[in-house]
């Protein structure tokens, strides 16, 4: 149990997915202009990440390792993730319209989010068991949500700030992210 808590804290704060591992930078820069969409994106990503972690673990253990096909890891993970996201999108559309409206447009974007494939690759690398993998996927998603929500909060304020013209948009976002990363480094001694 303590083990799971450590995995959670480590993925959310100490090794924050966006600010420390540099995964999922594209949505982090692209969808962090407003707080609302940022929260939806974070929720959608957390959902897909948890699911991906479970499925990727099963595939790795029972198909790739079982048949000694580890070299097909990248190909099989990306295919499974792409079809999984499609499936989830159709399922949500059928079952819950409000949820679909909230997450809908973000789901297809998530397929090409490197954080998702990153989850699958990391959990193989770290040799987590099934439960640990699911917790890892979920907490990485929470970490992503945390980072993108903080960023969106800062950027809403940034709209009012007097930023040099050529630094508006992406450059200032990067620099602010640098400051955030600096702050998150303070957690590095925690675990």
């Amino acid at each position: 149990m303590a083990n799971l808590v450590i995995i959670f804290l480590s993925a959310v704060i100490v090794n924050n997915y966006v600010l420390v591992n540099f995964l999922g930078i594209c949505p982090f820069v692209g969808v962090s202009k407003k707080l609302g969409p940022a929260i939806s994106m974070g929720m959608a990503t957390t959902f897909v990440m948890t699911l991906t972690a479970a499925v990727a673990w099963l595939i790795n253990r029972y198909i790739l390792e079982g048949l000694n096909l580890q070299f097909l890891q990248t190909v099989s993970f990306i295919l499974v993730i792409a079809s999984l996201v499609q499936l989830v999108e159709m399922f949500i559309k059928k079952v819950s319209k409000p949820l679909y409206d909230a997450l809908g447009i973000f789901l297809p974007l998530i397929t090409t989010n490197c954080a998702i494939l990153g989850i699958a690759l990391f959990l193989v690398l770290k040799e987590y068991n099934f439960i640990e993998s699911i917790i890892f996927g979920f907490s990485a998603g929470v970490g992503f949500t945390l980072a993108i929500v903080i960023m969106a909060g800062i950027r809403e304020e940034l709209e009012l700030a007097d930023v040099p013209e050529y630094f508006k948009g992406a450059p200032i976002t990067m620099i602010v992210a640098g400051c955030l990363a600096l702050a998150f480094m303070g957690f590095s001694g925690l675990i």
Binding site: F22, L79, Y166, F167, P171, G178, M185
Partner: protein, 202 residues
């Protein structure tokens, strides 16, 4: 002559006007993650050159037989195949660099630059042009990553490509080789390139 200028234009646009990292903000994850030294940035760039040029070649050759509906999955499989080859080759011949790049080599699959070029260019253009376009884009990516890596390495440990540049008395800015340095340097580079572009347009 007309075709020749066409080709060089195709190549040069990737270096500056449509530079994937600085102008189009694609492929930021590897650009930030592996550029703690010039050599790492450069190797990452080479892996992308390899993958992008070969996938563009294949996709461009097969562009008329790939059904429109399944083109994205097809692109992804082709890209993933070449990424796997690149990954295994790095691990076999330069294990140190392979270790430093870690999961970011397999993550080239989801690098938006590669899928983006297939969708925007290789699937619509003949093979010659597609190869030139892929070369331009990936060389632009490599140059950007190498510069980014060199700046961070120079300020963070005082070397470039592991050659001592800064005088001994220079106190290294450790933070530059850590995560915040990546964001700060890339942010400044994008800002400066915006400024240069605006100045050129005047």
């Amino acid at each position: 002559m007309a075709t020749k200028t066409g080709y060089s234009k195709e190549f040069i646009k990737g270096l500056w006007d449509e530079n994937p990292v600085l102008r189009m903000l694609l492929g930021l994850c590897p650009a930030l993650a592996v550029t703690n030294s010039a050599i790492n940035g450069f190797s990452m760039g080479l892996a992308v050159v390899f993958t992008l040029v070969l996938s563009s070649t294949i996709i461009s050759l097969a562009r008329n037989i790939i059904p429109k509906e399944v083109r994205i999955p097809t692109f992804i499989i082709v890209i993933a195949t070449f990424v796997t080859i690149a990954d295994k080759m790095l691990a076999a011949y330069v294990p140190d660099i392979s270790k430093a790049l870690g999961p970011f080599v397999p993550l080239i699959v989801v690098n938006c630059i590669i899928l983006g070029r297939q969708e925007a260019f290789a699937s619509k253009n003949p093979v010659g042009r597609s190869i030139i376009d892929a070369l331009g884009m990936s060389v632009g990516f490599t140059i950007t990553l190498t510069i980014l890596g060199a700046i961070r390495e120079l300020l963070g440990v005082g070397t470039i490509f592991a050659v001592q540049i800064m005088p001994q008395s220079f106190e290294p800015w450790m933070v530059m080789v850590l995560q915040p340095g990546a964001f700060l340097t890339l942010g400044l580079m994008i800002g400066i390139s915006n400024w240069l572009n605006a100045r050129r347009a005047k």
